[in-house]
């Protein structure tokens, strides 16, 4: 047998990953479509939904992430505000605008995006590990044998709960971040709280953009994590791979959505967001 030429080998080296990526994209799309169909099937009037599953997932995704999100965003708010005040005082010596600008950023970007990143790690890993271990132990096949569509049963309630709770946690996390930032600015740099806590520059569109981002992150995390869990193969190693891929994939999805929506909003308002 003749050895393949360099061109042939190069084409194979590029072709295989490209093909795998194309297949993965198609499968991710199918999971998204499947989840949306599952949500409609389960949550339409008279739909057949697993009893109590939505409430349970609201609790698991929302309540159980509250402390994690609050503490993380609180600390990030403090660090960011300390750095901002330091740079502002060195560059222009005026800290009167620091609070109003920070609020605008927290509402339209930092609040939902940092919350989304935190949930991508905690919730994404949890969903992928659970579904992945069910996959490798044939529990998903057992569900199918029992007449249950695994996506309807497992992902539909997580999808709805994740959207609701990412929005709620973004509001709570953003408020804590802003509050912690204000406290830092006051204690470290003597910024007047009345100057800092001034919402005059926040427009309804900032709030709409922030909520839209939170909803999109909430939708993306369970879809990406569920997709990774469903691709788990073999045994514990496969579940480990799925969990890692879910954290990386859903974090990347949050960043990509943030970029796309921010660019879209800037374009919509002619660069004057």
């Amino acid at each position: 047998m003749t050895r393949p030429s360099l061109v042939e080998r190069a084409a194979r080296a590029v072709g295989r990953p490209a093909l795998a990526a194309a297949r993965a994209t198609r499968d991710l799309w199918l999971v998204l479509v499947g989840v949306l169909a599952g949500v409609i099937r389960s949550y339409r009037p008279g739909g057949r939904r697993p009893p109590g599953a939505l409430l349970e997932q609201l609790y698991v995704i929302g309540n159980r992430s509250l402390v994690f999100v609050a503490v993380t965003l609180g600390f990030i708010g403090m660090v960011m505000m300390y750095q901002a005040c330091l740079q502002f005082s060195r560059a222009i010596g005026d800290l009167s605008q620091v609070g109003v600008q920070f609020l605008r950023l927290v509402v339209s970007d930092f609040g939902p995006t940092l919350t989304g990143m935190m949930l991508a790690t905690r919730v994404g890993a949890g969903i992928a590990a659970e579904i992945g271990s069910m996959k490798v132990t044939e529990q998903l096949d057992a569900l199918r044998m029992s007449g249950v569509l695994p996506i309807d049963y497992l992902l539909a309630p997580r999808f709805v709960a994740s959207i609701v709770m990412t929005i709620a946690l973004s509001l709570v996390g953003g408020a804590i971040m802003y509050g912690a930032g204000g406290l830092t600015a006051h204690l470290s740099f003597g910024v007047n709280p009345r100057t800092f806590f001034d919402p005059s520059l926040v427009l309804p569109r900032h709030l709409v953009l922030g909520l839209l981002k939170a909803a999109c992150y909430g939708a993306a995390i369970p879809v990406v994590a569920g997709f990774c869990g469903l691709r788990a193969r073999g045994s514990s190693e496969g579940v480990g791979w799925a969990t890692t891929a879910a954290v990386v994939g859903s974090s990347f999805a949050v960043i990509a959505i943030d970029f796309a929506l921010s660019v879209g909003a800037l374009w919509l308002y002619g660069g004057e967001l």
Binding site: L143, S146, G147
Partner: protein, 254 residues
């Protein structure tokens, strides 16, 4: 020509380019207990997973009661899964549900039964596998043998015509393994259920099987009664039945 109750016709299946089934032909008669045996990785579980739509053939045909299965999509397999049940190698009970809830699930979903009625029926099924006292326990609280019996009860709730058992006695002690054997025998004798059992357990095969199909190199190498297999002159089958490490059988990886 009447088709057999269940038939695999020239079935091919490969994973990532590696062929597992290479033109497999096999028929199963209604009500019989057929054991599929062979070395690990030869395609025994792969074979039965085609019957419930977990795998799709690359080439070939699968027939069940006059209906061609290899052309069905996922949705079309749902009514088939009411008629063909499967007991998995792991018990595959859902950890968050009690035994009764696990067993009631197929009734609620396939037969749209109310939860209360499904639970009553589930308790009756659990009594059939001697687990009535454990109906409200969670799977984690039970032994492997009990979990396996509960999984069998869950499969039987829909009164399937065919039950596929994927290594039902693997990991069980001899006493529990023989109880599972007895259960398979009773299913066939009392309810007329057709059983296809994937197994390595030679005592179980000899005690329970009506016929045994020996899979080798992606095809059915030999089919016969347990007595015929025990008395075979075929050196490959004889090596497997005797469990000898050396002989003519090619085992990849050794």
């Amino acid at each position: 020509m009447t088709r057999p109750y269940l038939a695999f016709v020239d079935v091919h299946k490969a994973f990532a380019g590696k062929p597992v089934l290479r033109g497999m032909d096999l028929t199963v008669a209604k009500g019989e207990i057929l054991y599929i045996i062979g070395t690990s990785g030869v395609g025994k579980s792969v074979t039965i997973k085609h019957l419930v739509g977990f795998l799709a053939v690359d080439r070939g045909e699968i027939w069940f009661d006059g209906q061609r299965l290899d052309q069905l999509d996922e949705r079309a397999f749902y009514p088939i899964r009411r008629r063909i049940g499967m007991v998995f190698q792991n018990a595959t009970l859902f950890d968050a549900m009690t035994l009764a809830e696990n067993v009631a699930l197929p009734l609620r979903k396939h037969q749209r039964m109310r939860q209360k009625d499904a639970l009553i029926d589930a308790r009756r099924r659990l009594a059939q596998v001697y687990l009535a006292d454990y109906a409200d326990r969670y799977p984690a609280e039970l032994s492997d043998g009990m979990r396996k019996r509960a999984a069998i009860a869950r499969t039987l709730t829909l009164a399937p015509e065919v039950v596929l058992f994927d290594e039902p006695t693997t990991g069980l002690d001899p006493v529990n393994a023989r109880r599972i054997d007895r259960l398979i025998r009773e299913l066939s004798r009392d309810l007329g259920v057709t059983a296809i059992v994937v197994s390595h357990d030679v005592p179980s095969i000899m005690a329970v099987a009506d016929r045994v199909a020996f899979l080798y190199q992606g095809r059915v190498h030999t089919v016969g009664t347990p007595a015929e297999l025990a008395a075979t002159a075929d050196p490959i089958v004889a090596q497997f039945i005797a469990g000898r490490s050396s002989g003519p059988m090619e085992t990849p990886g050794f």
